[in-house]
Symmetry: C2
Subunit: 121 residues, 2 copies
DNA sequence: TCAATACTTAAGAATATGCTTGACTATTGG
DNA sequence: CCAATAGTCAAGCATATTCTTAAGTATTGA
């Protein structure tokens, strides 16, 4: 299994900002230029350009510059990737929960091998 | 529709760190104490405590202190909430993509009302 | 050609994050 | 009681993030 950490880092970090999520929301209604994305916000164009760069680096959107305008569009792939990561964990957890059952769960003895050291470097 | 921005901020921010995601992974295998969570990492206990606090504030995990040990467990609800947010956007996007079709999509004229000002405050 | 448009880049300031060390508190086993 | 255990808290530090302003580039329409 390859290490997809940096990619997931960028993906979830990109999603953690409300302005960027609003940009994604706008893009679900279709492609838009950077200026169009900036219009609804109390933000300078430069600021929105930076958000767009973060979104593009995360893979959540793709952009294409034609003439002097840059058109941005959502990339369903990256959204699906983040969704899948979450889905896998939720399913694992729910499967485990189902196996044990609520009653047994309530009295399950905690794992016994505690950490012996402060660091593991 | 209530503003769930701060909650989603915390949720995705919590997911954006590899150590925290590893902690979540560990917790899909069952509850664990803070020391047990710290054991696999090159991190001090204090550092892991801080990550646990971030995860708890995001709602992704719940913790309970019994005696001197704090037991952490995954909260499927929050995971499902993040998953749902992504799923909604992906579906919107895919639905739109399907409606237009790949061919029409390739020549769809971009939205015409461009931004006229730098700020909207 | 020339001014407006649509970014783009750079630099700086304010704030947030993540990590470390060190001190401190609460429990627990002997 | 006492030492070890499991965490907790508070600083401090380095880096990252986000926003702003200002200046610069590439296109486009008249």
């Amino acid at each position: 299994m390859l290490d997809q950490s940096p990619q997931l880092d960028r993906l979830f970090h990109a999603l953690s900002d409300p302005t960027r999520r609003a940009v994604l929301d706008r893009l679900t209604r279709g492609p838009a230029s950077v200026s169009e994305l900036a219009a609804p916000f109390s933000a300078t164009l430069a600021s929105v350009v930076q958000h767009v760069q973060v979104l593009e680096a995360s893979g959540l959107i793709a952009t294409e510059k034609i003439g002097r305008t840059r058109t941005c569009r959502l990339s369903a792939d990256a959204v699906a990737r983040a969704e899948r990561w979450l889905s896998e964990r939720r399913k694992l957890w729910e499967a485990r929960f189902d196996r044990l059952g609520a009653l047994l769960e309530a009295e399950a003895p905690p794992n016994k091998n505690a950490a012996k050291r402060k660091r593991t470097s």
